[in-house]
Subunit: 201 residues, 6 copies
């Protein structure tokens, strides 16, 4: 069973894609909500995240906080329950805006209780209005997704021209979906609430 | 359909103008208000904003907080709803006071529910009393607005002499409006509440 | 109409004097109070103010907070209404203690609703007990006030000897008032509440 | 009586393993909860912990705060009782993610009142969902555990290949348990509540 | 009338002594309490104070907060009224522990409403239990006090040997009082509440 | 009367031992609690304490906050009364974990109202569970205690071997007590509540 399927077996975890010194890699964004009875509030961000990546987490949260009704998410849970967003591995510094869609998806999964599909990975900056903005490293990211056994990858629509650089055999085995609004990401990536991941460990 | 029209289709987004290493460029100031039930309060500012630009956001907020009645804006919404101002792209550092009018307009649009006109861009520092103070880079900014399909540009009245440097063919296709108070900006830039942007995506 | 008269047309703005790289200059201290219904509290200081100048703002506020009854100012307004003190231009770093009288005057004007006279400028450090302490650059500051059309300038009494260096023709056209307590500044500079600036734009 | 048995005699202390300049070493993670009547709240982290190790403590706390019901831990105690996590010796800087399992265990021991077994040591990064992620220095850590009289060591399952480098005579005297979820650590390491450490000093 | 008498005419101001680059100098510690109705709380420290001098202010406050009953001071006033301690001149950096007695005296004067005697200056570190600890620069400080028209100077008892270095004619005109507890300072320096400074400006 | 006896005459002061550039020295840890009516809360730490020494103070407080019932200390006093820990002299930077026992003792003395014995000094790191951990400079510290007229010194049990380096004539005049738990320190060092220091100044 591929790693991504195990990692995303519980609501609150989404599979992202990063460019590293050694090509591309899969990363997991994990989100949790404290039990209300613990009295925890506020937002914790861990995983040695740089300034830009921390801002992505705040943008994802504000997007959900302002669109809760529209997205049918129980955002009132955020009032009395501290949110924590973590990106393992804990000692590896990470930065950049391209985990925006992944953070938004992990948080929407957590709030809705709908797990993220284990065969889906994603990359893209998100604006405060939910627009998916272009990012770099499409080729390395698709190669990394393919190596990790991912079969569907969501990329920003404005990055479609970058697909020219991706080997045809990789594109053949991947379902690459260009998106321009993060709602499209949520529609593809979230399992239905009534069909929980049967294969989860 | 030009980008600016899509970006400003929802209330809370205004089109600004910036000087970059490569001439001028259009930028979008996005503002959001958290649902009151999320318990979010305070002000978040993202987009790798420098000190001066963060101060512009605080000046814009204080201007609206102290002139709410006069401007007929429901500023009491700011009490229990966290405000977030973001300026994409998330990884590009930005600074300077010239987004003051754009920030004020994005926030007034958000509070009033009146979208900003998609054919209007603006530049200008704002003082705490709402005066529009002069800025730099008028020529590059007007050229960028023109390239982006903008047809109306608001500039500080004290920058009118800089129009001498702008090519006549650009000025012919732009409606350039010199302003000295930010209320003039709001009067020109905000759509009427009863006539929502029909062309919005 | 001179700039200073326009800038000080609303309560909360006072005209100060600064020494810059290019001689002296007029600066405006602007103060605002948030509407109580916005829930804003605390103190915001903007305009790229240095440590010493920020301390001047806190001294001005503490002076007014501790002398409210004596000065017949409605200081209870400070409880539920956030204060913002801004000194344009927003991108120019400013520092030093000599805006103390100007900050105290802007805030007293704001609280009392009495505008500051548009023909008056001022300079002087203020102590926590309201004493006006000496500052530097008297000559450059008086020249700048004169150039800006100001007719009355308040200076610290202990700076009177510096007037020897000011050209006689400038002194002839200026009413220079040495003061040793900030209450003298307020008496001279604030318009009466019942006679609002008729000439204001 | 070995040191580890004394140190872990009270609930709230777990034995970890670290790589130091001079090979490996045993370290103790200590956790305490303030009496509710002291009014203390929040989280204190001491022991000259680096950024990554502080994040490990926050991840451990968030894991427990979000899984309290599932783990049958009285996490409501965290509401009105300040938590303190300390790692002696106080003057030695420490960093890295590998104390994640030890921190989670010390906190779970504290909350449950079940002491940690004195013959057990552990190492492993923990993710926000409780997964045990691989760490470095397995050989040095097992040698240090062996020297300290530890008989059971919990390591990340993904570190099993590193056991090849550990001398056979050490492995013979150690019960090394590879784990992939921090719940497995808690099951092995926590004494039953009804059988308190009789040998404790 | 000497400067010190004017400065200390109101409760809350005490005359201290400092060593500067150019020998010794008199300094004034000013303290104020916000009107309770302004909602101000907390402690503000201004005058470009260094770390050690800020700590002196906190020690002075804690001493008074813990000994209020014993000293018959209305310390409950500190609950709802923000305290501000300022040391002019605002642009001159100041540091060191020797203003401890001066800060304690200014605050005790403020709370009691008893002005500080205008002919008294003081120097000395204060411990949290009110002990007066030795300081440096006794000679320069006494010379400065003498020049400023001060007639009584309080110094730490442990600094008595330093009086050997002070010119006899200066000592003849000064009443130098060695003290070992800050209560002795308060007894000497505070005017009686019923005999307000008649000579005050 | 030796200095230490005077300094520890009131509850809340304990005598510690430090290594300085010039051998060893005695230091005093002073603790105070604000009157509840002052509204002060929180923890203040002064005396130019380094990071490690500040952490020692937090460990001492957390130890007492979590063991209040067991130690029969009225820790509920900490709820509404700000704590201040100061280590004179105020201008001398201090660091290291070896004042842990001294800080714990000063705070326990303050809470219990039992003064610390004036003939006792102590050194030792404290862990969060109250264990006394070894420190450096035993020889210099014992020599300093002896010079200061101290007759009983508490040291960590694990530092007993260091006594070999201390001159026999010093050991003969000192009662050196090795301890492994901070409760042993409190039992030796605190006067009984019913027998207040008669000799105190
Ligand atoms: Ca950065
Ligand atoms: Ca495909
Ligand atoms: Ca800057
Ligand atoms: Ca035109
Ligand atoms: Ca500075
Ligand atoms: Ca004149
Ligand atoms: Ca780091
Ligand atoms: Ca084995
Ligand atoms: Ca310092
Ligand atoms: Ca004398
Ligand atoms: Ca340090
Ligand atoms: Ca002995």
């Amino acid at each position: 069973l591929p790693e991504a399927r195990q990692r995303t077996a519980v609501p609150g975890v989404a599979t992202g894609l990063a460019v590293t010194g050694a090509g591309g890699d899969v990363l997991y964004v994990e989100a949790s909500l404290a039990d209300a009875e613990t009295g925890s509030t506020g937002v914790a961000l861990t995983g040695q995240l740089g300034d830009v990546m921390k801002e992505s987490a705040h943008i994802a949260l504000s997007y959900l906080r302002s669109r809760g009704a529209e997205l049918e998410l129980p955002v009132a849970d955020l009032k009395d329950r501290g949110v924590h967003v973590h990106v393992p591995a804990g000692a590896v510094p990470k930065d950049g805006p391209s985990a925006g869609v992944t953070m938004t998806t992990a948080l929407a999964s957590l709030l809705s209780g709908r797990p993220v599909r284990g065969d889906v990975a994603m990359t893209g900056e998100v604006s405060l209005t939910g627009r998916v903005l272009p990012i770099g490293g499409v080729k390395q990211k698709l190669l990394a997704a393919h190596r990790a056994g991912i079969t569907t990858v969501l990329i920003p629509a404005r990055n479609e021209p970058d697909l020219d650089d991706v080997p045809a055999e990789v594109l053949r085995e991947l379902d690459v979906r260009p998106v321009s609004d993060v709602r499209e990401v949520l529609e593809v990536a979230l399992e239905s609430a009534t069909a929980p991941a049967a294969a989860a460990a």
